[in-house]
């Protein structure tokens, strides 16, 4: 009882990365709280699915299998989670901030009258003192997220209602195997006891999915390279930094023209305009046609070996040095210091 639950998305029996990332994080929270980590998987072809989850430290896997449960529709998944949570009384419930998680999470929280915080960027455990009533709440989930167009960071808590629910976007948490030998328990859900025929009123008639394309426009962090990156191989290092810190890679026109990066990554007057939270300009001089597309970034870091480069004037931080040397150190020290 009072464990941490992660709702795991799956397609044809394969658990989504975002769910494994959440399990990784939830395992750490469970250790801190000294409770168990339980996962819920709802869909088809789920035989053996627990083998994908145990290595991430999951102690109990609840499996609800049925043809009517995939592709996802709102009501049957809601019905299962709501009843399961009523029975199991989790203290924390997490799901991906995906189209599915953002469809399902609010339904479940509304049914259970529990608080839900969307798109958290960090989850921590901490205490809270309610001064007015002189009550101390121990071990709450701090749900940390940007608010107000990304300009402030809010820490949200749910002192009284359970479960404390949160959604997290893909790529925000790190996916890390907890232990290859970790073993847990499987509990099969009798779907007929949870889902009624009325829950099946919405039918999926047709579905087209494709691989996602580059999306620098919506990325909160952009690592952008210019002519000073020197080569396509140099850009590989920027991709590495980007994947480590959860960013997209952009480029100047000079870098695109030189063939270091593809055109769909060009930022500026004749490329895309971006307003990320953080823009890391690597070997970019900062001509106005480039800065037109990125000057509204909340924070700009320039890595350049020329102290007089124009971009330095609009930067918040300037690192005077060679791109490949500085980027390598960023990767190293990010890894060292991020939990």
């Amino acid at each position: 009882m009072n464990n941490i639950f992660v709702y795991c998305e799956s397609e044809q029996g394969v658990v989504a990365d975002v769910s494994l990332e959440l399990c990784t994080k939830a395992r750490k929270l469970a250790n801190q709280l000294k409770c168990k980590l339980e996962a819920v998987v709802i869909g088809t072809r789920l035989k053996g699915v627990e083998k994908q989850l145990f290595p991430f430290g999951v102690d109990v896997v609840h499996i609800a299998e049925g043809d009517a449960l995939e592709p996802y529709t709102t009501l049957p998944h809601t019905a299962i989670l709501v009843k399961l949570f009523q029975e199991e009384k989790p203290q924390i419930a997490l799901m991906g901030a995906t189209v599915i998680g953002r469809d399902l999470g609010p339904r479940v929280s509304s049914a259970l009258h529990s608080g839900l915080t969307a798109d958290c960027t960090s989850l921590e455990i901490g205490d809270h003192e309610e001064k007015k009533s002189n009550t101390v709440y121990k071990n709450l989930l701090y749900q940390i997220r940007p608010a107000f167009g990304g300009n402030i960071i809010a820490t949200i808590i749910n002192p009284d209602c359970r479960p404390q629910m949160a959604t997290v976007r893909e790529g925000v948490m790190k996916k890390e195997v907890f232990s290859e030998t970790h073993k847990g328990e499987v509990k099969n859900i009798d779907v007929s006891k949870y889902v009624t025929p009325q829950d099946l009123v919405v039918k999926v008639l047709e579905r087209h999915t494709e691989k996602s394309k580059v999306n620098i426009k919506t990325s909160p962090i952009i690592v952008s390279g210019g002519y000073g990156v020197g080569s396509r191989e140099g850009f590989q290092q920027l991709f590495e930094l980007a994947s480590v810190i959860g960013a997209e890679v952009g480029a100047s026109r000079a870098a695109v023209d030189a063939g270091f990066a593809d055109h769909d990554r060009q930022i500026g007057q004749t490329g895309v305009t971006v307003r990320p939270k953080l823009y890391i300009a690597c070997g970019i001089s900062g001509q106005v046609q480039h800065t037109a597309g990125m000057q509204e970034s909340s924070m700009i870091i320039s890595i350049n070996n020329d102290p007089e480069a124009p971009i330095n004037k609009i930067a918040d931080y300037v690192i005077l040095g060679d791109v490949s040397d500085v980027v390598a150190k960023m990767i190293k020290y990010y890894k060292k210091n991020s939990k």
Binding site: G149, L205, R207, L278, V318, K329, S338
Partner: protein, 291 residues
């Protein structure tokens, strides 16, 4: 045949999309007063889908329901100029401090008080919170099925809808019976512009409060043209439990607010030493710029 009843849920929001460095105060906080109040963009996409349904189904009506302070009546007028039939402003001190759950409870009670609807259409999310929670939470409170992330209502009858909706990596077409709640994605068609005739017709549409604050020049107008009255509703009109509204009805509490942006007037210049770069990474992690 009774016409289809459509309620559009809409919100007035500060325009956070263009919070440039000039909308930030010296201490790094957002200057809310400097931001214009607008019709939440995706709620306009929702209004357009509602108006298209109305165009197709004879006798269908589109009502706008918004919860907010008195000045939120502005977006109801905006909706009337674009083709909505009427509007309801849900406003009461008891709603102050509502999180998404308390908001959805109030909206659900208001919808019930209005006799329900065949279709409830709202934007996917509001730009001042980006939570995408209120739509599904209202649906749950009303016991209705939902279709979120809708891009287009493809077919509609008085009994069912067929909708194309956006997925993380594609699209799907779904169908369901009415009544139904739909949330509309920003990738849907933009809302039609104001209509010159409707602008004339509704330019004096006001709430009771606004009427009392203004001069009495047009008092008879509101008697002769009832459509100019934007209905104001408070707690007493919606049969809601006080303990489930506003701050007391909100399970989530804000513990702390931190500013992400800290203005450095001049760039901080660092050499490429290990210590400098490690220091910077630690700083960016601890102020949540990274991680």
């Amino acid at each position: 045949m009774k016409g289809l009843k459509i309620i559009v849920l809409a919100k007035q929001v500060p325009d956070t999309r263009n919070v440039g460095k000039d909308a930030m105060k010296a201490d790094g906080t957002v200057n809310r007063a400097a931001l214009p109040a607008i019709f939440n963009p995706e709620d306009l996409n929702a209004l357009e889908q509602a108006l298209r349904v109305k165009d197709q189904i004879p006798g269908a009506t589109v009502s706008i329901l918004t919860m907010g302070p008195g000045r939120a009546a502005e977006i109801i007028r905006e909706g009337l100029f674009r083709g909505a039939d009427n509007g309801y402003l849900l406003t009461d001190r008891a709603f102050a401090g509502s999180d998404t759950l308390a908001t959805s409870y109030a909206l659900a009670c208001a919808i019930k008080a209005l006799g329900g609807a065949d279709l409830i259409i709202c934007g996917r999310q509001a730009i001042d919170g980006d939570t995408a929670q209120v739509g599904p939470q209202v649906a749950e409170k009303l016991g209705l099925p939902q279709i979120t992330y809708a891009e287009e209502v493809l077919e509609v009858t008085t009994k069912s809808v067929k909708v194309r909706r956006r997925l993380d990596n594609g699209v799907e077409t779904v169908e369901g019976a009415l009544p139904m709640l739909i949330t509309v994605n920003g990738s849907a068609a933009p809302c039609r512009p104001r209509n010159a005739y409707l602008l004339q017709k509704y330019k004096r549409a006001v709430t009771v409060t606004e009427r009392q604050e203004a001069s009495n020049d047009y008092i008879e107008l509101y008697h002769d043209r009832p459509y100019l009255n934007i209905v104001e509703m408070g707690v007493k009109d919606i049969d809601a439990r006080l303990e489930d509204l506003g701050l007391p009805g909100s399970p989530t509490k804000v513990k702390k607010i931190e500013n992400v942006v800290f203005q450095t007037k001049e760039a901080k210049i660092l050499g490429p030493s290990d210590a400098n770069i490690e220091g910077l990474m630690i700083e960016l992690l601890s102020n949540h710029t990274l991680g």
